[in-house]
Amino acid sequence: MTLIKMSLSPWLKSPFTDLTGAVVSHQWYGECADFELRALDCLEAYGLDRGLKKCDLLIQDFQECSRKTKQFQRLTAMRLERHRQHFAGERSKENKWAKSPADDSY
């Protein structure tokens, strides 16, 4: 939230704040371009203070697309669960891991 607040509206605008403005965005061909545009449109419509509450889901989605934190948490949880099962004896050494995907499929 603070990030967005900072990058949208400096409290004092001058040529120097323009110089260090947030000019890099996801609008260059990124998969998150739509997410970003929707979140920013919403923020623009509601204004900053109300927008942060109203556009919460849109902003969360944009941040998820940008940072992939939830996807990363998911895979960490799955790895840990697999290790847990192995150490608890629910999984033998042989079937600890699933078969690898085909090398050229990703």
Partner: protein, 138 residues
């Protein structure tokens, strides 16, 4: 001195020198012959190149489709594996973070592409590194 001259005769041009036309004509004839052979070789190489290029262009869409097909199949396999793995974890729903969807505002049927690490999450670290660092092996 005299005997040495008689035994070892230096190879010299015929008396009166070589014929001019023979020198240039020979040179031209040899070059023309070599040029013709070079042309034949060039043609063969070009034709082979063209053949191989056509073949690879022809099978490229099929390889691409096969890759995509395998990718989708693997996504299903991953989903089944996740179902099986996280069966006993409380509150876990496959494809979500403890029931919380990855994207709130997106269609539920939208395909969310996994990151590479997530694609290989059920495979061993060895398989993962084998694929991830495949460029280093070559």
């Amino acid at each position: 001195m005299a005997t040495a001259e008689a035994q070892c005769r230096q190879d010299l041009p015929p008396p009166g020198g070589y014929k001019r036309w023979a020198l240039f004509g020979g040179y031209l004839a040899m070059t023309a012959g070599a040029g013709y052979l070079y042309y034949l070789n060039c043609k063969a190489v070009k034709i082979t190149d063209l053949e191989i290029r056509s073949a690879s262009l022809a099978i490229y869409p099929m390889l691409l489709a096969e890759r995509d097909r395998e990718y989708l199949k693997q996504l299903r396999r991953n989903r089944d594996e996740e179902n099986e793995l996280m069966r006993n974890v409380e509150g876990w729903k496959t494809g979500t973070w403890y029931g919380e969807p990855i994207y709130h505002t997106q269609d539920k049927n939208l395909l969310i592409n996994p990151r590479f690490q997530e694609y290989y999450v059920h495979a061993s670290y060895k398989d993962y590194t084998n694929r991830a660092h495949i460029g280093l092996l070559s």
